[in-house]
């Protein structure tokens, strides 16, 4: 299961269980819901798989240790986990910068005019939102936005009528907006 079919309330209950769950199931579930996107975020920011794995492990340990302080009124679980990840990445970069023997991360994007950590964090959340759309809706957005195709070109490519492509693109963006609102990425 991905984080796609869950409500913010279900996530908050899961974090609440973290503190007392003796079986490890709550941690396992939380990790399987968010481990992928947070690993992508960390890997992208640090450019090293091992470092990315360490960060993700650290993030979920911090979440476990501080589950009691999580306040669902202040932020969604996803937002909370991203903020923990962001801090962990900053800490890792700081450690690397005071240990010059360690190799610099190739994708230390903030020092190379690339996206900031905040922008990158936003990007991964939008990528997660796209995963929650139907494949048909995702396809429309990818072709129009990322490949720069016009409605007519998408219709030729997919064999669908132009009218269908157009209305499907509209519904796709409406769905995306709703998902981003649910995730707390944009205001509702």
């Amino acid at each position: 299961m991905t984080a796609s079919h869950r409500s913010a309330a279900a996530d908050a209950v899961l974090v609440d269980r973290l503190a007392t769950d003796e079986t490890g199931e709550a941690m396992r579930e939380l990790y399987r819901l968010y481990g992928g996107e947070l690993f992508g975020f960390a890997l992208n920011a640090l450019g090293d798989r091992g470092a990315g794995e360490e960060i993700v492990q650290e993030v979920f340990l911090r979440a476990w240790r501080h589950a009691g302080t999580y306040d669902p009124q202040k932020a969604a679980v996803r937002t909370w986990l991203y903020q923990i990840t962001r801090h962990a990445i900053i800490d890792a970069r700081r450690r690397a910068s005071v240990r010059p023997a360690l190799p610099r991360h190739e994708s230390d994007v903030e020092t190379e005019g690339g996206p900031t950590l905040e922008q990158s964090m936003l990007g991964w959340q939008v990528a997660a939102a796209l995963e929650r759309l139907t494949p048909e809706h995702r396809q429309m957005i990818r072709m129009a936005q990322f490949r720069g195709l016009s409605m007519r070109e998408i219709a030729e490519h997919t064999g669908l009528p132009v009218g269908t492509v157009k209305s499907r693109t509209w519904y796709a963006l409406r769905s995306l907006r709703l998902v981003l609102e649910e995730m707390g990425v944009v205001p509702g």
């Binding site: 490890g24 941690m27 992508g40 993700v56 922008q119 936003l122 990007g123 129009a144 016009s150």
Partner: protein, 229 residues
């Protein structure tokens, strides 16, 4: 252009995917229609957000991290448990004896169940049955069996498999000529896997865990095996 046509074109409009004449028609309609203008306002910020996600593909959560994470949490819980007041603690030897007694009941005379903590920590309160699996291929594995009402949940950590997802492996719980499948899995790019599988077979009904590789229809080869001691 009416409202219905304009709205259906708004997605393409904000993504810049309309032909110039239709784009102009939508713009003219929106300028005079507050409802459609409101709908446009809800959508027009999305392309900027999407730009941040260009090229990002969410990877699978690394199974190895899950394993390390759960081990670490179990260890820290064990440490915490050792600091509980004496009245709440059960001596380690006694816990092991209780676990063995439970194991004896479940597994029978030929098998012993072990309740072990990790790395010298206090044992967990739920009985955990652990065993090692080995074979001729160089792969090794560790399995934890969690008895449940409907059968057994098998946690399996494997390394040393042929890297890549081409091969399908099956986990079986066996006794004599009897066998129950717990399910199938594939290895990751490093030849590792961590899976949680469920079999209807109950602890005590089988005496070994075997992993076989499916090489084709009706063709399989043994990879790993471990006896419940």
């Amino acid at each position: 252009m009416n409202c219905e046509a304009a709205r259906e074109a708004l997605g393409a409009y904000v993504l810049g995917a309309l032909e110039p004449d239709e784009r102009a028609a939508v713009a003219a309609h929106v300028a005079d229609c507050p409802e459609c203008a409101a709908e446009l306002a809800r959508l027009e910020g999305l392309p900027d957000l999407l730009r941040h996600a260009d090229g990002l593909v969410i990877p699978p959560a690394p199974p190895a991290v899950e394993e390390r994470l759960l081990d670490r949490v179990a260890r820290e819980r064990g440490r915490h448990r050792r600091h509980r007041p004496a009245l709440l603690r059960v001596p380690r030897g006694r816990m092991l004896a209780v676990a063995c007694a439970i194991g004896g009941l479940l597994v029978g005379a030929g098998a012993t169940a072990l309740a072990l903590g990790t790395g010298g920590d206090a044992p967990t309160e739920t009985a955990q049955y652990q065993l090692r699996l080995s074979g001729d291929t160089g792969a090794t594995a560790r399995a934890e069996l969690e008895p449940g009402r409907g059968g057994t949940q098998v946690h399996l950590w494997v390394k040393g498999l042929k890297p890549g997802a081409e091969s399908v492996y099956e986990v079986r719980c066996e006794r004599g000529g009897w066998s129950a499948s717990a399910g199938t899995f594939r290895a990751d790019a490093r030849g590792r896997a961590y899976v949680v599988l469920t079999t209807a077979a109950r602890v005590g009904e089988y005496e070994r865990i075997r992993v076989v590789r499916h090489d084709g229809p009706e063709q399989e080869s043994p990879v790993l095996s471990g006896e419940i001691q």
